[in-house]
């Protein structure tokens, strides 16, 4: 097969030739599916064709977005349901929507322009960093469901967004940090002007009154910097002192408080040097370092932490008269009867009353093949119904479901997470002790030599050695590294990850979706009769095109149409293609269509399906969950670093051992529950091991929470993503290999920075001790050493080239 064309809209390969085309930007373009074609046509019809010129990334495939039912959208028009997230005054409603499917800046432009064309829409603005759309509309002219539908028509999914406590707190913290930074910057510049005028280096002939005025002005302007902007350092220092730790915060607080205290003394007495500008500069540098670090981490995590909805928003309740009604999940009650159509998530734990189907439990258990279920079997909330409609009696809801039990396990697991000491804090501790001892010794000596100068010498020593560069060493390196890792496809959401990579000695992998693709792919076609491979695939794909089963997706798409397709859950599909009566599925099911015996199943590995017509069997198809192409390289890197590798899977099939053999993993265990996995991790912790966990499913969540470092795949469930310390957005294990290299380099830069900062402080001590360091020299040294640290950290940003 020649290299397939890629879809003009979403960039995925096109298997259907030119079945779906449209004229975009004066040329005929090919699309992979009717979904992409329809989206492109809507965009063209809206006159926003130039979106395709502006975009820098392919768009999201509309079929990959979560499905929404028209009647589920209509529920959102109910006033009582809108209440929590829509604010109304008169006819004007206003809300925020979370948009899925945004890939680049042009998407924002497209959504805003397209919505503004609708009658009744007053204002739209999309925030590209957290993917939230603020929209104001006239509810007399247009309904909310209409807006959501319009957004979907141009290839995005919109969900009502309610600020939860986490994101509200994050926003408030962000604003507070920015305010403190701004105030420190504005005030410090004023303080510098006023206090520099008093420095002897500038030789200004100030009158006594002017000198006093400038000192008082500096004092007044510095006070907010100390008490407002630097408050978090003092709080941190108090907290650490209470737990008997000497950390960076203690060191920082001491320097700021020392400079401020000396300034007050000098202002009141009118003599001595003025160190207010040092306090201001120090606060500003530190606050900028921390603010940048925060910003780098929160940038895109805001968009990913939002959608923790593992359950559908609404469900179909079966009334006693046999009619069904769509209600919100919160309105559902115990013992209600539910209708779950194929392709939908099961909203509550329950027992099947009628219907047969297969259920995909891979996210909860790691089993990669769906399980066949029949009346009387139990089903679990959060799993996917694949084949046939089911009627379910609700047994457990909300907090009582098995899904919630895993979430509760997560809370317990979080307390097991070991806290690693940060490198900078260890250095700060030694640094602080040495400086305090030196200051005491120098003070004592000067007391003997010239008691009137002793106080000022000790003070200049404390200010000159203030650990400005030292405390910038880590945040700047982490900020730069986080940025370049993001380009590589690894998003760091918690700060300690880069530093603790060094300590890791054990890696735990999940199987389904992590080392393997997590979806079935067609591996082999063995024609039995005269038909060619291609023709057999064509027939099979036509039949499977009518099924929601994960097996069906492996066959791709075709333009050949099948008629009267029906599915026999757990067995296979039956239908007509080009007038030919066909079956595909289990051999015994297929062979009963004609009266021929089922051919013997090939012995090769995988799930084998038979295709046959009324006369004879036509072909065997082998399906398998494929190993990710870059998995061996990652395993190689892990072993090269001397890490112990474990494979822990919830899947109880022989698949686990095969994968382990292919990748040469010695310790592979299958059929584990989330609790079992957590036990294994606890044992490893007891042996004093530091564990890196890579996983994706809900069943991995407790281990992700408790591991020293946890990384979730980009395709992982939302819960797994919010629990993990980092997210592999690119889904490619090879970017994890490069990430490990960046982490190593980051650690080296941090050590270089800490080394340089300590060296500078060590060099300046003798000069301060003999009383040569004036405020001017102290300020110069502080800025130059900080600048060096920042420049060194910037080397980490060039990694992606």
């Amino acid at each position: 097969m020649a290299a397939p064309l890629s879809c003009f809209h979403c960039g995925l390969p096109v298997f259907t030739g030119d079945a779906f085309t449209a004229v975009v930007l004066q040329e005929s373009r090919v699309f992979c599916c009717p979904g992409c074609q329809a989206v492109a046509q809507t965009i063209i019809a809206g006159g926003l064709e130039s979106y395709y010129q502006h975009r820098s990334e392919p768009s999201a495939n509309p079929e990959a977005l979560p499905g929404v039912l028209p009647d589920e959208l209509l529920l959102l028009d109910r006033k009582d349901i809108q209440k929590p997230f829509v604010s109304t005054s008169g006819n004007i409603s206003e809300t925020k929507l979370l948009i899925e499917g945004i890939t680049c800046a042009a998407c924002g432009w497209l959504i805003e322009k397209h919505l503004r064309k609708l009658p009744g829409v007053l204002e739209t603005s999309l925030n590209l960093s957290n993917h939230r759309l603020s929209i104001r509309w006239d509810s007399e002219q247009i309904m909310l469901s209409e807006l959501l539908k319009t957004i979907r028509n141009i290839g995005y999914a919109a969900h009502p967004w309610q600020p939860d406590t986490v994101s509200e707190k994050m926003q408030a913290d962000n604003r507070r940090a920015l305010r403190k930074l701004g105030v420190a910057g504005i005030l410090w510049m004023q303080v510098m002007m006023a206090s520099m005028a008093t420095w002897p280096e500038f030789n200004l002939d100030l009158s006594d009154g002017m000198d006093r005025l400038l000192r008082w002005i500096s004092l007044i302007l510095t006070t907010p910097i100390v008490f407002y902007c630097s408050s978090e350092f003092f709080h941190g220092a108090l907290r650490d002192l209470r737990t008997r730790h000497l950390t960076m915060d203690v060191s920082v607080s001491l320097a700021i408080a020392g400079a401020y205290g000396a300034g007050i003394w000098s202002t009141l007495t009118g003599q001595g040097d003025l160190y207010f500008d040092a306090a201001g500069m120090f606060a500003l540098f530190l606050l900028s370092g921390r603010y940048l670090e925060r910003r780098a981490r929160e940038r895109t995590s805001a968009a990913t932490t939002q959608l923790v909805n593992l359950l559908p928003a609404s469900c179909l309740r079966l009334n006693t008269d046999g009619s069904s009604e769509r209600i919100l999940l919160s309105e559902l009650q115990q013992d209600d009867q539910l209708l779950v159509p194929p392709g939908h998530l099961i909203p509550a734990d329950g027992r099947i009353l009628t219907g047969r189907s297969s259920i995909d439990e891979s996210l909860l258990t790691g089993e990669y093949l769906p399980l066949a279920k029949k009346p009387g079997d139990t089903v679990v909330a959060g799993t996917l119904n694949i084949e046939g409609p089911l009627t379910i009696a609700v047994l457990a809801l909300g907090e009582e479901t098995q899904l919630s039990a895993i979430v509760r396990l997560l809370e317990r697991a979080q307390s097991l997470k070991p806290r690693l000491a940060e490198l900078a804090d260890t250095v700060a501790q030694w640094f602080l002790i040495s400086v305090l001892i030196i200051a005491a010794v120098v003070g004592l000596i000067w007391w003997q030599v010239d008691s009137s100068r002793a106080f000022w010498i000790v003070l200049s020593l404390l200010v000159a050695t203030c650990p400005c560069a030292l405390s910038l060493a880590t945040p700047t390196a982490l900020t730069a590294a986080t940025g370049s890792l993001h380009k590589l496809g690894l998003l760091i959401t918690k700060g300690h990850v880069l530093e603790s990579f060094q300590k890791v000695d054990t890696v735990i992998f999940d199987k389904t979706g992590t080392l393997t693709e997590g979806k079935l792919t067609l591996k082999q076609i063995l024609p039995i009769a005269q038909l060619s491979e291609h023709d057999c695939l064509e027939l099979a794909a036509a039949l499977e095109g009518h099924s929601e089963h994960p097996i069906a997706r492996a066959f791709g798409r075709t333009t050949t149409a099948a008629q009267d397709v029906s599915s026999a859950p757990g067995l296979g599909l039956e239908g007509f293609v080009n007038g030919k009566h066909l079956r595909i599925g289990r051999p015994d099911y297929v062979s009963t269509l004609g009266a021929y015996p089922a051919p013997p199943m090939p012995s090769a590995q995988g799930q084998w399906l038979l295709l046959g017509d009324t006369q004879h069997a036509l072909a065997w198809f082998a399906l398998d969950d494929q190993l990710r192409a870059d998995a061996p390289a990652l395993l190689e890197t892990c072993r090269a670093r001397g890490w112990q590798v474990l494979l822990l899977s919830g899947d109880s099939s022989p698949m686990v051992q095969q994968i382990a053999e292919q990748l040469h993993i010695d310790d592979a265990r299958g059929g584990l529950t989330p609790d079992d996995k957590l036990q294994v991790l606890k044992e490893l912790h007891h042996q004093g091991r530091h564990v890196l966990m890579l996983g994706d499913g809900v069943n991995d969540v407790p281990v992700l929470a408790a591991a020293d470092i946890s990384i979730a795949m980009g395709s992982a469930t939302d819960l797994a993503k919010t629990t993990a310390d980092a997210i592999l957005l690119s889904n490619s294990l090879s970017s994890l290999v490069s990430a490990l290299a960046v982490a190593k380099k980051t650690r080296r830069v941090i050590i270089e920075n800490l080394g340089w900062a300590t060296l500078y402080n060590g060099l300046v001590i003798p000069f301060a001790a003999i009383g040569w360091v004036t405020p001017g020299w102290a300020a110069l040294g502080m800025s130059v050493s900080s600048l060096l640290v920042v420049l060194n950290a910037l080397r980490l940003t060039r990694f992606s080239d």
């Binding site: 042009a106 432009w109 007053l122 960093s129 957290n130 920015l178 005030l187 002017m210 005025l213 302007l221």
Partner: protein
């Protein structure tokens, strides 16, 4: 030098106003999204429809429109 006795308090007042303005901007969410405005202005510039669009909309352009485009 005497002028400084007036200039310094004036500077203090200006600083206070600057901080007040800055707080207003932060609370108003002006610093929350630093990406989209930078891009949207470029798209509108390259858009061949842009001039026509502006001429059509000019008479009835609402304040929101101006805000979002500029």
């Amino acid at each position: 030098m005497a002028a400084l006795y007036v200039m310094i308090p004036v500077a203090l007042i200006i600083v206070a106003l600057a901080i007040k303005l800055f707080f207003w901007a932060v609370d108003n969410g002006q610093y929350e999204d630093l990406d989209s405005p930078a891009h949207s202005i470029l798209f509108d510039d390259e858009d061949p429809m842009h001039t026509a669009h502006m001429n059509n909309k000019a008479p009835k352009s609402s304040p929101t429109d101006e805000h979002n485009n500029g």
